[in-house]
Subunit: 143 residues, 2 copies
DNA sequence: TAATATATGCAAGTAACTTGCATTTATGGT
DNA sequence: ACCATAAATGCAAGTTACTTGCATATATTA
């Protein structure tokens, strides 16, 4: 009898980019799939522990670096001293960061294609990626 | 005879925000006025030394924090582990960061007002500030 | 010019991240 | 199913950016 494995997709996804499908990597990748807002390494370690996956911080740092290199995830830098990560497969979208409660909301369809074209033609700069983040006060915290 | 002091403006600017006009602060502020692209603390320290101003890193960190608090400068976070600073008096503008040579070019007139309005009405998020950075290859490095 | 609030330097501390090396493990070939 | 091997992991030590506490020094104000 064949048992459908949880995270089967993750393993396949990992092998596709020639990374070994280890428990920690599968755990990180499926965690990112479950998570809506970009998370940092400390949070990743905590969430893994909840799933009974214990990992060394250094290992997760290395994993995240390899994921970035393989374009599985992208780095997000808010005005913090730590890096956050989210799945690169998510559409081009950006974030609203509440400076009061720390909530992170997504926004999509940022219409900066016009600006990008302008940059390409005027500055002859080849754009590989961009980051657009908004800082302010969320709906809840305005009350 | 009255000798016109260099950096007289900087001193005034500092007192306006009730910060004492010390040599290091004046040095940092006038350095930022001379500099076109956002700079980090290590660079600030080097440049100050050229001007015969020796300062402790901790002091400059504290100075930068107070400048940010007083809205004299703003923080810029590229995909680095360090913070850069630029004068807040500079117009709303953004940066093109070359991933090859590290050159930083400014762009102005980013037309994201439309997007901002959309965020305010749809998400009821009160925008205080935003950051928009482009990463890619500059004109020179494309050759 | 003296009083005082504030700035600075120094040293120690913290947090995020990296690196070297010995051990373990996933995987491809048999 | 097993073995060989390249790659992944854990641990410890190191690095870098940044912070903090405290004693000393200095800019401002009266």
């Amino acid at each position: 009898m064949v048992v459908l494995q949880k995270n089967h997709d993750c393993s396949a996804e990992l092998r596709e980019v020639s990374l070994k499908a280890t428990p920690i990597r599968i755990g990180v990748l499926s965690l990112l799939e479950e998570t809506t807002s970009p998370i940092d390494i400390a949070t990743i370690l905590k969430e893994l522990k909840k799933k009974k996956i214990v990992a060394d911080p250094a290992t997760v740092f290395r994993i995240m670096n390899s994921f970035v290199e393989k374009n599985l995830v992208r780095e997000i830098h808010f005005r913090e001293d730590k890096t956050r990560y989210e799945l690169a497969s998510k559409d081009d979208h950006h974030h609203l960061l509440c400076q009061e409660c720390g909530a992170i909301e997504d926004i999509s369809d940022c219409h900066i294609e016009g600006l990008e074209k302008e940059i390409i033609t005027k500055k002859h700069f080849l754009i590989k990626s961009h980051s657009l983040e908004f800082f302010g006060i969320c709906k809840n915290c305005q009350k």
